[in-house]
Amino acid sequence: MPVKGIRTVTAARNGVGAFILQCKRLDFHYCNFGGSSRGMLAFLTQTLPRFAKENPQIEIRVSPRHQKHPMIKGQYINGNEKSICVRNLEPEDILKKAMILKDASGDKLKRTKKPITSLNESVRGIWSPYHGDLRGV
């Protein structure tokens, strides 16, 4: 057999064709009794329905957690979880925190130096010292 095929898997490039939001689920936890949940309770009754309608891709769960501060937890497609404590926050600030969780990619936070990461090979090729004419000093 002159040539064989090597089996691989294509790599995902989310956003090139279809775009899938990486935040898959948001859990809102509140306490009915605690004072730090006051803003959260207002958020749940007033702002959350609109937020849920604007982001149908996200599954939203609301559940009480007694004697604890209110929390927002985001579940991501890569399996990670991010959580933000929203104690004593106003509904507008809680919405901002929810937007942070919604826009996040779910990856671990990293410091990067280069702005671009690419799967493609270099378009113009890599420079080689063995090609081209010799140049005198």
């Binding site: 095929g5 089996r7 279809a18 149908p56 063995y130």
Partner: protein
């Protein structure tokens, strides 16, 4: 040519009310006559006299209703149809994939039920997956054959596997955010992928009986030609595996990879059935073709120099000659030779290596890849003719095929 009306067709095939009149229902119906009689979602012809004697006592009826409420979820091996509209997971998945609104949640719920979870063919995704599999294979094949007409068959098989193989489909299902249910059952949220898992310790490859039309398929060590794989085997060049022991049900399961792949295929089939061909094509382009694959990495040559000589002979080129373009450190511990392969005046390819032979092999490899990876400009695939107002078809480039050594 008149088109089939997919809407009407799909409504009869995929009606959520189709639970009447199938074998499973009749079996359960005879077993649990009383509970089934007040079922709101189930319409059956033989219900009336049961319903009447229940209706005589309102107290009894309410009790029956209550019992039924809890038991209806457990009556079938997969979630009931009406649970689909209540599942947040399912609605989120529908929105996440930007599925057309014509594709109802009930069908999406059905695509998530594997045949190992629910054996009833009216409620599992087997039929949808069959359709989706054929569509996927067709679209991928035409894309590959039109864009890379000179690829050798083995590389086409590998590229098919990379685009639409079970590993890729399972990865896609994961990237769509589909979670697996631990065990299938009627009470499970329909947003989970439901399948019966394989018992730990079972050999996945061993228990599948081969169902090949190939003569003497049982002879493992006989040589199988590549061309015979087109005819006898599946689209990846593998032997077609038979249906894995359908009879027993509870005993056998499928791997998570296989179940995820079936789900992705079923989604493709469901889109085709509900939203039509253009939507299915667009879904394919956006989710499958947009993925990254470097086809030049799929080649595994054994003797590239020999293949190149045969190729030049076939195409009536001058026989290939390897020449040193530049070199450095021939006597040192790490020499580098840059060798080009020339056919007459034309340079076919070049490569660098630590020995002359290695450099020559690499040069021949580059030349062969340059030949096989030819891609014409402005390619159109045959299925683009199905669009409205498509330009007249121009035949695509068809190549002689790979070199036969």
């Amino acid at each position: 040519m008149k088109r089939l009306q997919l809407q009407r067709w799909s409504s009869t095939v995929l009606s959520p009310r189709a639970r009447t009149g199938n074998c499973l229902h009749q079996q359960l119906y005879t077993a649990k006559l009383r509970y089934q009689s007040t079922a709101s979602s189930i319409q059956s012809e033989s219900a009336p006299y049961d319903a009447i004697d229940v209706l005589e006592d309102p107290k009894l009826m309410s009790q029956v209703r209550r019992v039924h409420k809890h038991k209806s979820a457990l009556a079938y091996p997969s979630p009931p149809v009406e649970a689909a509209t209540r599942s947040a997971k399912l609605a989120a998945l529908h929105a996440r994939l930007y599925l057309p609104s014509r594709l109802p949640l009930q069908t999406l719920a059905r695509t998530l039920v594997d045949a190992s979870a629910d054996e009833n063919a009216d409620f599992n995704n087997e039929s949808l997956a069959t359709l989706g599999h054929d569509l996927l294979t067709y679209y991928t094949t035409e894309h590959l054959l039109c864009n890379y007409p000179r690829l050798p068959l083995t590389v086409i098989f590998a590229a098919m596997y990379a685009y639409a193989g079970p590993k890729t489909l399972a990865a896609m299902a994961k990237e769509w955010g589909v979670e697996h249910a631990a065990m299938p059952g009627g009470e499970v949220d329909p947003g989970y992928l439901q399948f019966q898992r394989v018992e730990p310790g079972t050999d996945v490859e061993a228990n599948s009986d081969l169902q090949s039309a190939r003569p003497y398929a049982a002879q493992k060590n006989w040589r199988k030609t590549v061309t015979s794989k087109i005819f006898y085997d599946d689209e990846f060049g593998d032997q077609i595996k038979g249906v894995v022991s359908t009879g027993s049900g509870s005993g056998s399961g499928v791997t998570a990879e296989l179940a995820s792949a079936t789900f992705v295929r079923a989604v493709m089939g469901a889109i085709y059935l509900h939203a039509g061909r253009p939507a299915a094509k667009r879904f394919f382009e956006q989710h499958f073709l947009s993925r990254h694959l470097n086809i030049s990495e799929l080649f595994n040559f054994s003797q590239p120099a020999r293949d190149l000589a045969r190729l030049c002979n076939r195409e009536n080129f001058e026989p290939p000659v390897a020449k040193i373009i530049s070199e450095t450190g021939r006597k040192s511990r790490h020499p580098v030779f840059v060798v080009g392969i020339f056919s007459g005046q034309d340079k076919l390819g070049e490569g660098a290596g630590a020995s002359l032979l290695e450099a020559r092999e690499r040069a021949a490899l580059a030349a062969l890849k340059g030949w096989y990876l030819y891609s014409p400009l402005n390619v159109r695939v045959p299925s683009s003719m199905e669009e409205e107002g498509a330009a007249p078809w121009k035949p695509v480039y068809v190549d002689l095929g790979e070199v036969i050594v």
